[in-house]
Every structure is written in C-alpha cells, then in structure tokens.
Symmetry: C2
DNA sequence: CGGAATCTTGAAAGTGTTCAAATCAAGTGG
DNA sequence: CCACTTGATTTGAACACTTTCAAGATTCCG
C-alpha cells in the first residue's frame, strides 16, 4: 500500500509532464483532489448512476466495462498506477452511466468531484490544457485500438496488448483481457496455447 | 457551392453551441480561420507529412484513412458539413502522419494553422474549452464505435451506421463505408442484398 | 463510345464462436 | 489442514460469419 503523500507526488508529476504549474497553482490543484481507498470488488460506479468523479490511480487495479443485453461484459479500460479513469460521457452530460467501474485489486486513488473540477479549471486554466491533452491522447489511443480491432487477428491483437501493457497482463484475469480484445475467453485460451508452441 | 460568409456563420454556431463567445471574442476567433476550397481527389494531408491544420467543413465531403502493409485502406472518419477533420496525433506531436485526408467531393472549409491555434487559445481561453469538449465527444463516439465493432455483426453495424449518418450514406462510395465498418466490399454488398429481401 | 472504377455473385477456405464438459486454482469454513 | 464450493481456464466438436479469389455485371466519366 502506498502512502497518500506519494500518490500526490505521482499526480503532480503526471500534471507537470504536460503543463508547467507554479508552486501556488499546484497548491490549489492539490487541495481539490482528495484521497480515497477502495477494496477489491467494490464498484466506483454502476450502470444507471451519474458519474461524479475523475479518479487518478496511485496503486491497485480498476477497470471499466459495459454489459450488453446478452449479459456479456466488454472491458473498455484497465487503470493502474498513473492512469485516470472515469465515465466521461456520464460526467460531462450529467447523464446516467452505461458502464461499471470496478475495483480489481485494492486501490488508493486521488479523486476530484465534477463541480470542484469546473471550479479548479477556472482558478487554474492550465488544467484545462492538461485535460485537453489527455483527451487528445486518449482519443488517439482509442483510434489506434479501433484500427487494431478492425485490422488484426486475435493473436496479433493479443501480442500488441502484451507489448503495450505488460504490467496489466500480470494483474488481471485472462477472461477480462479477452473481453478487452473483443474475444471469447475460449479463443484467448487457444491463442495462448498456439503461441506457447513457438 | 456555399459562400464564405455562410460558412463562417456555421462555424460560429458550432462554437457557440458549446461555449458562449462575446462579439469581440468571435471577431478574434474568426480572424484566425481562413477560407479554403478544395477540389475532388485532392489530398489535404498525405502519409509522412506533418499535419498543420484543423479543418472545419462547410460543404463537400472529406475522409481520413490509413493504408496497411497489404495495401488495404481503413477509413477513420468521414467529414461533411459542420464536422472537423485533422490528424490529431500528427498535429499535437508534430510527428509524421500515418494517414491520408482526401477530398471526396469539392469542398469549402475554414482552416486554422496549429501555431495560430495555440495563439488563439491564449487570446480566447474559452476556445480551449471548446476543443476539450470536442475531444471528449469524439472520444465517446470512438469508444461507441469500438464497442459496436466488437459486439455487433456486419449487418447490425451497417444498420447503425445508416441511422447515425444518413447523410453520409448518400454521399460516399459503398466500399469506403465497408472500410469504415471493417468489412470487405463484398461482405457489405451481400449484407445489403440480405437486407433488401426483408 | 470506351475504359476504369465500382458493385455483385459464387464457391472454397479461414477465423472465431458457441455449447458442453473437464480440469485447475483459490478461498472458506469446519 | 482438508474438503468443499466457486470461479477461471482449457479442450473438443459443430457451427456461423466473414474473407478470399475469381469472374461477371453495372455505373461513372472523360
């Protein structure tokens, strides 16, 4: 388990890699985020609820997913150290969420409330740039993922996933990775068997 | 063909639906965008070039796509009236683009240069919010599309596309829609035949 | 009109899914 | 510490969907 001060330092680094904050700006920003710990199996957000927070993960593992009419889960994102997670659609539109955010491993996070976030953006406009950059990167990554999904075979996608997110592979169950890649657990199992033979 | 003044009005509306601009702010913003017309078959951006502009489409049709090692094209986006198009990855990182942006039908656009954009964001911070909102919406849409690609059959995806983008269906060749949906042209042709029978 | 691109159609092959069952792993309570 | 329960992974066989390759029909434009 990580201590609070260390997580604040992680956040600070994360922000300052993207925009330059003065000491006093950081002091303001810091005050808006508050520490929260979550236990495995807890839900940070459930379908139907209105998402109110943006989470910055210090330690632990979270994931977001939706559940289709057949009851199949589709993993949207995993979040480990230094990742943000939220339901941006629900957050910006104050609309009922269509997704779940679940804690896979006990986690320590810094979170900020939407209202506080709006307030913070006014006080520290650089944070607007920070969030815009994050959105844009996220967008680029999502497009990349879409492209892989369309272009590559199951095995190629899994290899790409391992290369890109080696830390996540260790920490989450295989069937969730399958659901991230758009495969059935059975298929991923066979793909791995296939790969092991080489 | 649309006249310039009308396109500026479209842009103004597009911005003001998202953030409130005063007259003087709009005057500043307006001055940064300049009108450009493109002919069918022109390339606004080619693979390897560094993307310098953000385009707001007044009329005509554009699309972005990438080309894989087998020479297959994958359509990332279509853009018609009131849409923005650019290569955000290349733009923000000043990196060589991996995509093409092609004009499918003679177009009139308003475009802004990256440097001017940075300048504009400083002068009119509300535009930072505007772009952040656009990024977030775009992200949500891309995630939705990813989800459909993973979850739905070819026919379901095509139906969804028709519902969501009825205007585009009319204006672009079928094989490009196939490449947007991640299908071969043959498959889309068969899907349509199948649907016609009902 | 003629050539090029686009769309359609067919048959065979490939890739991933489904359903069912077996195996394996981890955590719980006695 | 073992037996039991529950969840996760693996395996097999049949099936469904999409692609590939090849060829023919249609449409678009110069």
């Amino acid at each position: 388990m990580m201590n609070e001060a260390t997580i604040y330092e992680l956040l600070r680094t994360h922000i300052c890699e993207r925009v330059q904050l003065t000491e006093s700006e950081w002091a303001i920003v810091k005050a808006y985020y508050h520490f929260q710990s979550y236990k495995k199996h807890q839900f940070v957000l459930q379908e139907g609820q209105i998402c109110k927070h943006i989470l910055f993960v210090g330690n632990g593992v979270l994931r977001s997913y939706n559940s289709d009419e057949k009851g199949h889960e589709h993993t949207l994102q995993f979040a480990i150290r230094n990742w943000l997670i939220t339901d941006i659609q629900s957050l910006v539109n104050s609309a009922p969420s269509k997704i779940f955010i679940e804690v896979l491993q006990d986690a320590g996070v810094l979170q900020i409330d939407v209202k506080h976030n709006d307030q913070m953006l006014k006080e520290v406009p650089k944070m607007e740039t920070y969030f815009r950059l994050l959105s844009q990167n996220n967008m680029a990554a999502t497009q990349q993922r879409l492209n892989s999904t369309i272009t590559l075979t199951a095995e190629e996608r899994y290899r790409e996933f391992i290369l890109r997110y080696p830390d996540i592979v260790q920490q989450v169950p295989q069937h969730m990775i399958a659901s991230y890649l758009g495969l059935t657990p059975e298929t991923l199992s066979r793909v791995r068997k296939q790969m092991a033979k080489k």
